[in-house]
Subunit: 158 residues, 2 copies
């Protein structure tokens, strides 16, 4: 589902082969079902609660996560085109290089968001601060060591 | 080059297939040639200067990047095993879940570091704050919108 190129945008030929591969380790559940509904940036204080559903295969990897108040979430923006080097964001007057933007359109469409961890329920993280579509594939969950520690409600993990 | 499992660590069976693939978009050049030499965390103030060499295919995507003082770098930790759910870091007394650690060993070995941007030379970013091995594959470069703006020396980009 590639978007059309806008005036001022430039695409290049993608490499003939990929270099590495990833697993989707779960799904992100949010209230947004179309891209136009998504906020421009997540809000860790006032955004809606979202659910990060970890595939049961990886559930044991959540042990100890409730001690962190803030997590870094990596996810896959699977509807973005990967061949743009210059982009024309609606909010700017001139084209910008892809690496000078956080646009979903990039060679590897991996997004990174910092979220507030509100709770842990078996294989589900309850968080605030996401801005992605419902059902977005999850790539990674990491603690943000730079944020203050805390302890959230946890039914299954300590 | 998988490491051995230590006492207290648990591995699982990986999925039979991958879900998505990535391109390596360049290489990271650092002073560290063995894992034991790498610092535990990068230092944006006092760490050594490192070079991020972008593949010429993507060079145009750097346009405008010199206006950011801080970048987020995603890279591929290609020597880590991907099947651990519980890990025993040397610094901890008990095993921790993989998602409660920033260890390289994780289902998708993508690291994320914030670096200070010191300069831009054609297709090379001069940065401070990395902690990875020399020649580490580069996955993405994003501006850190949360950091103050600035303008670094740039021979080729504005």
């Amino acid at each position: 589902m590639d978007d059309a190129i806008r005036p001022g945008e430039t695409s290049i030929a993608l490499p003939a082969a990929y270099d590495a591969s990833i697993y989707f380790i779960g799904r992100i559940r949010t209230p947004w079902h179309e891209r136009g509904q998504c906020p421009r940036q997540g809000d860790r204080d006032a955004g809606p609660e979202c659910r990060i559903e970890i595939d049961p295969r990886w559930q044991a990897a959540l042990a100890g996560i409730a001690r962190y108040k803030e997590l870094q979430i990596l996810y896959w923006m699977n509807f973005a085109r990967r061949d743009l080097v210059l982009q024309m964001p609606r909010s700017r007057a001139e084209p910008s290089g892809t690496f000078a933007l956080r646009s979903p359109a990039r060679p590897n469409p991996i997004a990174s968001s910092l979220v507030a961890l509100l709770g842990v329920e078996t294989n589900v993280l309850i968080v605030r601060g996401l801005d992605c579509l419902d059902n977005t594939p999850l790539v990674d969950v990491k603690p943000n060591y730079a944020a203050p520690f805390g302890s959230v409600d946890s039914a299954d993990h300590t």
